[in-house]
Amino acid sequence: MKTKFTKFAAAAMAVVMAFALAACGGGSNGGGSSEGGDNVLKLGGVGPITGPAALYGQAVEKGAKLAVEEINAANPDGVQLSFDMQDDEHDAEKAINAYNKLVDDGMQVLVGTVTSTPCTAVATEADANRTFALTPSASAPDVTEGHDNVFQLCFSDPNQGVASAQYVLGNFADAKVGVIYNNSDNYSSGIFSKFKAEYKNAIEETTFTSDSATDFTAQLSTLKNAGVDLVFLPIYYTEASIILDQAKKMDYAPKFFGCDGMDGILDLEGFDTSLAEGLMLLTPYTPYSEDAKSKAFTEAYQAAYNETPIQFAADAYDCVYAIYEAFGKTGLETSASMEEICEALIGVFTGDFTVSGVTAESMKWNANGEVEKTPKVCEIQDGKYVEK
């Protein structure tokens, strides 16, 4: 009985697989958004479209697609772009599978990957295989370290940690500083370790992990009892919104100071923005900027997707424009191979290439692949960002 029934199991699975694989051969990749002629530069993206980090991958996908559509519409006779986003579920193993799939499909330049740990894994593959990669949002130093072909468009984590520490030292010299950071997250712990090294004074440290990110009352009471009056939050806005809510319920009102992950908190659906009053954050982009480019992007994004863009979308949007402009400078045809494009783009990016985008004016890259741009410090007042 048993063996027969497993035989059936195998047979059933085989049928399912055959179906899936057959469909695989027949279907075309649905991610491309350009059907132009032969003059197409194929971009690929890797990021979490499903799973707990889906928010970031989907924002990148939307931002990049918007830029691709704009570029293709603006210059129908010139170089056209196509963009295919593959899901990595925020997992290094799946990210490599996604990258390999893109290479199989003839990708020429990689926009990504979105999150740090998968990006570190893909960077090694892309290095060995010579793919040029510009990540919109993987900010850990491991992403670019030792890889000449991987560049970041966001500021690196150490960069943000140092900048935050300097700002706090300069503007809140007397404050007793505490921190709540996500110990199981690359981004959060990366920023904090540099903040700590730069800040040098005593810090009241509390942490959480992604698995226990529901209740922060324990951390908040620790900070409250220690008399902390400035809480550094190098975390994403999802958790920060709970922290602000619970702090208020505890009658605890210190100064909260966040990094670029905090951007987006005002547009959380259902969020009581009065909770974020006085919150300070370090950010390259805000949807409320009066800058013409930012404004145009925000409006186009809202029109296309009916939601307010978060920083990840803006970074991805800039990534596509940066690659497009840099490709123009290489003088290569779109028929060039992935390897040729890689070497040429490395030359452009490490040269005196600058590009202005939504997230910064005239961004420049150093040989390590890190972008040089200055973070802005904003404070939330009356539900609006005010630059400091």
Partner: protein, 381 residues
């Protein structure tokens, strides 16, 4: 004599005694699948028929097959539910990452480094299996399951606060809950939640396939040994097993530790396939995934688990063209296949169909009669 009693307690053991060829058949099919799979994929890759996407999955497939085989030792053969297999995998993966890095300076021959790493990883995972198995194996069914789940989560939590690094003299340094002072970036091995970085990636398809063969060899031999029959006898009837003097705890612990050790080795091989390895990879979902292989392949059926592991690893990749609907499609396939394989009505219909087209009809009918006789006897009792 004792062996024969064992055989008679275990209904499946009895079946083995009656139809002695069962073991040989299982071994033949299992090794056959492995060797055929290896040759086809290797040749396909050499001739350029297989894309990067599938090639990149060769080593993970081997690792998942090994994990499915080793978990089958606990779930199928020993009859205990374990939800923490990824924990042992994590122990092996991180031990492997540390060992290969420490050996990097003195030992340039990569296979030797891998071999030593595999042995130490296996030993560490076995130790973990022993520590956790010793107190808990007295627990009943689902309670054992929750403890293994708890154990897997504890391991992952601890990995999140572990820091290892090499200082400039090549000495291994270790810290708990904070970064190690005075370690260059290049000397970092484990960095808490970021996990292992800069792994040298010395795993190859051939090594991974050899590890799978080794796992298969160990598990099949245990299954067919005196100890294995004792384990199965305990699974089928614990009281009868005890009554003839079997040390229930000893045999269960043995199966658990061997399974943990094999999972550790598979974890080590897995880790050596990626340049970076975060603790979050080894969460509850991974443990469950391995269990899905075992259940879908038919609990206790070694080669069924192998096929299920390979197919379910490829399936999410094959579903990529559904883009946003990919994981939804995966979950539906999982539910439908589970119902189709285990639902009694569908099962019996398919079995009837299978008997009709089965080329080994005559032989099987005899077996059927034999089984039916036994079954009715059992029910009467």
């Amino acid at each position: 004599m004792a062996d024969r009693i064992l055989k008679s307690i275990s209904t499946r053991g009895l079946k083995n005694a009656v139809r002695g060829s069962e073991y040989k058949k299982e071994a033949l099919i299992s090794y056959g699948i492995l060797i055929a799979g290896y040759l086809v994929l290797q040749m396909g890759a050499m001739m350029g028929l297989i894309g990067r996407n599938l090639q990149g999955q060769f080593i993970p497939i081997c690792v998942y097959i090994s994990l499915a085989i080793s978990l089958n030792l606990v779930v199928g053969i020993s009859g205990e539910l374990s939800l923490g297999h990824a924990g042992f995998m994590a122990v092996g993966a991180f031990t492997g990452a540390i060992v290969t890095r420490v050996l990097e300076n003195g030992m340039t021959f990569a296979p030797a480094r891998l071999l030593i790493a595999l042995i130490i990883s296996g030993a560490m995972a076995a130790l973990a299996g022993f520590i956790i198995g010793l107190p808990i194996l007295g627990l009943r069914g689902d309670y054992l399951a929750i403890v293994t789940l708890a154990f897997g989560e504890i391991i992952r939590n601890i990995m999140n606060v572990l820091y290892f690094g090499l200082d400039e003299n090549g000495h291994l340094k270790f810290a708990f809950n904070h970064e190690i002072e005075g370690i260059e970036n290049s000397g970092r091995i484990l960095t808490g939640p970021i996990g292992a970085t800069g792994v040298s990636k010395i795993a190859t398809f051939t090594y991974a396939a050899l590890l799978t063969a080794f796992t298969l060899f160990v598990v099949l031999n245990i299954k067919n040994s005196k100890q294995g029959r004792a384990i199965m006898a305990i699974r089928d009837n614990r009281i009868a097993g005890e009554s003839i003097g079997l040390n229930v705890k000893k045999y269960k612990l043995m199966a658990f530790v061997v399974s943990a050790s094999l999972a550790g080795m598979a974890g080590c091989m897995f880790g050596q396939n990626f340049s970076t390895l975060a603790p979050v990879k080894f969460n509850f979902n991974t443990s469950v995934l391995i269990l899905v292989f075992v259940v879908l392949g038919g609990i206790g059926n070694i080669w069924g688990g192998m096929i299920a592991a390979a197919l379910l690893t490829i399936l999410p990749e094959a579903l990529r063209q559904f883009s946003d609907y990919r994981m939804l499609a995966y979950s539906i396939v999982l539910i439908v296949v589970m119902i189709a394989t285990y639902n009694p009505t569908i099962k019996s219909r398919v079995n009837a169909l299978w008997t009709k087209v089965n080329p080994f009809k005559a032989k099987d009918k005899e077996g059927d009669k034999d089984r039916k006789r036994k079954k009715s006897g059992k029910e009467a009792a």
